[in-house]
Structures are given as C-alpha cells and as structure tokens.
Amino acid sequence: MFSTSKRMRALVASSAAALLLAGCGARAGDDTAAAGSSAAASCVDTSGATIKLGFLNSLTGGMAISEKTVSNVLHMAADEINASGGILDKKIEYVQEDGATDWPTFAEKTEKLLTQDCVAAIFGGWTSSSRKAVKPVVEKLNGLFFYPVQYEGLESSPNIYYTGATTNQQIIPAMDFLASKGVKTLFLAGSDYVFPRTANAIIKLYAAKLGIKIVGEEYVPLDKDDWTSQVAKIAAAKPDFIFNTINGSSNVGFIKAYYDAGLTPAKTPIISVSIAEEEAPAMGHEVTGNYASWNYFQSLKTDTNPKFIESWKAYPNSSGVTSDPMEAAYISLYLYKSLVEAAGSFDVDKVNAAAKAKPITFDAPEGKVTLDGENHHISKPGHIGRINADNQFDIVWASDKFIEPDPYLEGYDWFPADIRKQLTDAAG
C-alpha cells in the first residue's frame, strides 16, 4: 500500500498546513480578543423604502403549540405599523424563521437573520433556553433581540430587550399576594428546566423572608404529561398553596391529576406563572378557580386593551383570546419603533444610546410601560387573576403602581449580595 500511505501523508501534511494558515487568528489573551461585539460590521440595508426585521419562533416541534401565536401577533403588529406609515417612514418587511423548538436552530437562525438577511432586529423566542442560545450570537454580531416572555431574570444584555416580566414583576408580586392571603405553607411544582429551577430558587429565598414554609418541590420533564405521582405527594403534604412553574402541555396533565386527587381551589389553590388565556381552555373546567400571576390579562380594563383584543380577534389565524406573552410580543415591535424613532436610526449602538438618553414609553394594552435604558426591561403592573368558568381571568389583586424592572433583585435585601456578585461575575 505504498502509494496509499504516501497519498495519505501528503493529505495530512497539506491539511495541517491549511490549519496552520487558518489558525493564525486571535488567541486567548490577545488584545483583539475583547473586540468581539464591534468587530462585526452590520449589513443592514437602510437605503430602501423598507426595513427588514426578523421573527424567530418555533413553528414546529413541541413549543410550536405556544410560539405560533406569538409569531402571528408579531405579524399583526407589523401590519398595523405598516398601515400607519412604518418605522421612520420605512415599511417593515419581515423574515419569519422557524426555531423548531431546537436551541441550536435558534442560534443558527439568529446568525442567518443577522448576516444573510441583514435584518435590523429580531423578535421572538419563548423558552429561556432559546433566549440563552440566541444571546451569544446577537452579542457576537451586535444585533438586537426582543424577547417577549416572562422569565427568571438575573440577566441583562446590551443586545437584548426584555418585554416580558422579570422576577420582581411576576414572581415577587405572586409571593406578596400569597403573603397577603396568609399562606403559611407552599409546594413548588415545575417543569425541569431553567426557568422553574431559577424561579424556585428565588421563591425559596423570598419565602424564608416572608415566613412561608416550602413543604415540597417537584420537577417533571417538559415533554411529560403524567403528574399523578407528584400530585400524590402534594396531596400528602397538604400545602396552603401550590406555586406552579410548569410550562406547556405538561400543565394539562398537572391540572387533571390535581383535580382527580380531589384537590380544590378552595383548600389547595394553585398560583401559576405559565397558564394564561391561551393555555387555560385546554384544561377545561378543571382549572377554574385557580390563580395566575401576569402583567397583562385579556380582562384588563385599560384604554388600549379593547382595540388590541378587537384587532387580534379579527386577525387571520387568530386564536380569539389575548394573553400576556402575546401582548409582550405586541409591545416589543412598538417599543422597537419608538426606540428607532427616538434614535433616528436603525443602528444598534444608536438605538441603545437612545434608550439611555430619555425614557421611552409605549401605551401598551397593559398600560403605559416605560423602558429602563440600563437593563433593557420595561416597567409593568403586577396582576393576579383568578380563572373563571369561561377560562378567562377575574383580576383579584393588582400592584399599587407599575413595578420597575429589577432583574438582579438589587432592591431586595433578602437576595444575598454575594450570590448576586457571583452571578454577575459568572455572566462576565
């Protein structure tokens, strides 16, 4: 095999040479290493009559059941903005991408949207995992990502705007509500992924401060519906309240098992942070009487809400009901419009500068929200709703004012400073 091995050797040698040539890039510790974000030149085309925006939602796979609606509402918002003249007189031309419930796909599509389609900003994502997949890519390419779902906080990025609630706008109001009801024992039930795990870590810290005892904590994989074993544990623990951070269709199994075990809102009510008007119908009457903590409810009485509901009901592919993540997605596009118009440019750095320069506001269906230019979150009202027989929510509690976003819980003394420091250090 003389000739083969000779050829092999030649191949190995030449590929090694190629690698050496390619590998002359930056190494760890080089000064250029830090360059990262500003290195990528933007290819956004602002010369035409339109501006390209990217929508990135899971249209297939497990999360499609939630994200399709967000995608549709983004389309509606774009249509509305276009009908009223567009952004800086440019019509929105959106590129819809499918994240396919696959986090690497989210990363890939983000890169595609930014470098191939040259969109000015990306809107979408649902799960925290998808956001965490997008984050390094938008930071690397200095893009913009608008994320519309409540999440676990403890994060901020110059390249991400969060229009859903952070913990102090959803979890903490929910805990305050529980405290006001005199709850003494609490059971935590969640899906096994980053949001419930982190949220529950925070809940445990705050519960200690409030004097609420955590009597149990259960996690089930996202794609599993069967909660019977865990609900049996809950029934045995007899908590005053159940804090539910389950996501997706697993909620249906949880509610059914809860109902079956003879647990009732009268004795063992649930407070959820992932069941909204969209999800509740799939649980029928068995969920009635339980609570949810959101910033927006369809039943909210504000000046802007009726129009939002009306437009959505008339929109093709509408689900007929509005919900918090939908509303946050709706806000995100309008917020971007306000930001760009304040900056007078689509340039990412100028948009970020405009966010810091003066408070950007938007008359959202949940009320007038204000953007915090430093942490890129928005102020939100806290609401607790109770599910009625129509699978709508009766509002039973509201925060006395709009809650300023505080993703790192800096205004809360029960959140240990050393942990916060660890987190900010680790986030780099």
Binding site: T60, G62, A64, I65, S66, K68, T69, D192, E218, Y219, V220, P221, D223, K224, D225, D226, W227, T228, S229, Q230, A232, K233, A235, A236, S249, S250, N251, V252, G253, K256, A257, D260, A261, G262, E278, E279, P281, A282, M283, G284, H285, E286, S319
Partner: protein, 290 residues
C-alpha cells in the same frame, strides 16, 4: 400505598399503549413507530366526539369505540399502502413509520388549535376511591378497568374466535396457514386494524390524563416498545406484567426521587433487564435455525 396504586394506573396506561404494539410488533414483526400518533388520533377522536355529544358523561363511552375504529382505519390504510410491501424487511418498517409519524404530528399541529384541545372527563369519574386511607382517583381506577377489559376482550378474541385462531396460525407458520386456505392478507390487515385501534383506545385514556395535542404520542412510543420487548415477543402475559412493573417502578422512583430522574431510572431498569434477559420475560421456544 399511593405509589403502588398510582403506578398500577400508570402501568395500565402503558399497557393500553403497548397492547396494540404487542399485536403488530409481537405477532406481525412490524415495528410501527407511528403507533404513538395513532394514540394521538384516538385522543383527537375523543375531542371530536365531544363536539358532537357535548355531555361528557356520555361522550367518553361513545368515544372509545369511535377512537378504536378511527385509529384502526388509519392503521388499515397504513397497512394497505405501505406496510404490506415490507413484511420481509421488519427493520425498515421502523423507519418508514417514523416518517408516517412525523407527517401525522405536523398534520395535527396544523388542523387543531396548536395549544391542544380539552377532553372533558365524565362526571362519574370525579372523586376518589378510598383504599387504605389513600384517596385513589377514580380516573386511575377507570384506566385500570379499561386496560383489563381490553386485555380480556383481546385474549378472548385471539383464543376463541376463528379469526383469532387464524391470526395465531399465521403468526406460527405463514406458509402453512396459506396452504390451509387462510387468507394471510386478510389476517394481516385485520391484525393491523385491531392493533392500531387499540392505540386509539389508549389515546382516549391518555386524553383523560394529559394534554391532547400533536406532541402527545411521542412520550408513549419508546416506553411502550420497551414494555413489549421486556414482556417477551408476542406474549400478552409478559406485556401485562412488564407494563405493570414499569408503571409501579416509575411511581416508586418518582416517590423517592424526582419525576425527571424517575423517567431515567425506569428506562435504565428496563434496559438492564433486557441486557440480562434479551428474550424478555416469556419466550416461545422454537427450533428454527439460522
């Protein structure tokens, strides 16, 4: 006590999902990865029946036979169009039906509301049965009863009807059965119809326990196959014991650890068991060579 009872119900659901497979996989050697989607079809059938008969007390009893027939017909179509060409390539049926499953899932996602649909349980399943101080949900009792009825009917059908005997004859020796005047084509079709129909029944039971949406079938398929494999190929008795054992193991693991870890442990348990006893709990002794 609670884990044992919960586990038995979980096992019963698993058994319902596995029963059809033990027919199509065990008796015919077809590896139908779309079985989970047939289960989903059963669940959606229950929802559709509920749209017609809104009283859920009545609609679920009606939905059971309807789901059986609808899922069975899907199975029949699959058999007639695709599976019939592949009896000599059992491993390839696995891949073909993966494709069928993908298509059915996507179709369901597009046809029905993406969030899934509610299937209301009949009010006569509200409440609990108190067993040694534990309030055992009636829905779980129902699942067990349903599984028992299906097992009883299926084994009686296989044992006492002429069609059942023909199925067994065909499984035993296809060529001989043909020589004896049995239309093996008809037998194949009917077996597949019944096997798929049982998935439909399992779907109705599943719709009462979890969500009814396009993704629901995926969580049952691998555990169901493991149950059939662990029970021993074509062994109804083995399938029953294996399903019950896996269900109870799941419940106890979930009781001792977390729901996530319970899934992993149950899987590992079955995999280790199959390593030790690859032929499953029960085997048919054959003299076949090579």
């Amino acid at each position: 006590m609670a884990p044992l009872l919960n586990g038995s119900a979980q096992g019963a659901l698993l058994l319902l999902a596995a029963l059809g497979l033990s027919l199509t996989f065990g008796q015919m050697g077809v590896i139908n990865m779309a079985h989970g989607e047939f289960l989903m079809i059963g669940a959606f059938s229950a929802y559709l029946v509920q749209q017609v008969i809104s009283a859920s007390d009545l609609s679920i009893p009606v939905a059971l036979p309807v789901a059986f027939v609808v899922a069975g017909l899907f199975g029949l179509v699959l058999e007639v169009t695709i599976i019939r060409w592949m009896y000599r390539r059992p491993l390839d049926t696995l891949l073909v039906t993966v494709g069928v499953g993908l298509i059915l899932q996507q179709a369901a996602l597009q046809i029905f509301p993406s969030q899934g649909v509610p299937v209301e349980k009949p009010s006569w399943l509200d409440g609990q049965l108190t067993v040694l101080g534990y309030g055992w949900p009636l829905r779980q009792v129902f699942t067990i009863l349903l599984a028992s009825v299906c097992v009883a009917v299926l084994s009686a059908w296989l044992k006492y009807t002429s069609f059942g005997r023909r199925i067994r004859a065909t499984v035993h020796n296809r060529d001989l059965a043909e020589t004896a005047g049995i239309s093996t084509r008809t037998v194949d079709r009917l077996t597949f119809f019944v096997g798929s129909g049982l998935a439909g029944v399992a779907g109705v039971a599943a719709s009462l326990i979890g969500g009814t949406n396009s993704q629901m079938g995926a969580q049952y398929i691998i555990p169901a196959f493991l149950v059939v494999a662990a029970g021993g190929i074509g062994q109804l008795k083995g399938t029953i014991i294996a399903a019950w054992a896996v269900g109870v193991a799941l419940a106890f693991f979930a009781y001792w650890t977390t729901g996530s870890l319970a899934q992993v442990l149950a899987f590992i348990l079955v995999i280790v068991f199959l390593q030790l006893r690859p032929q499953g709990l029960f085997t048919v002794r054959t003299r076949s060579l090579v």
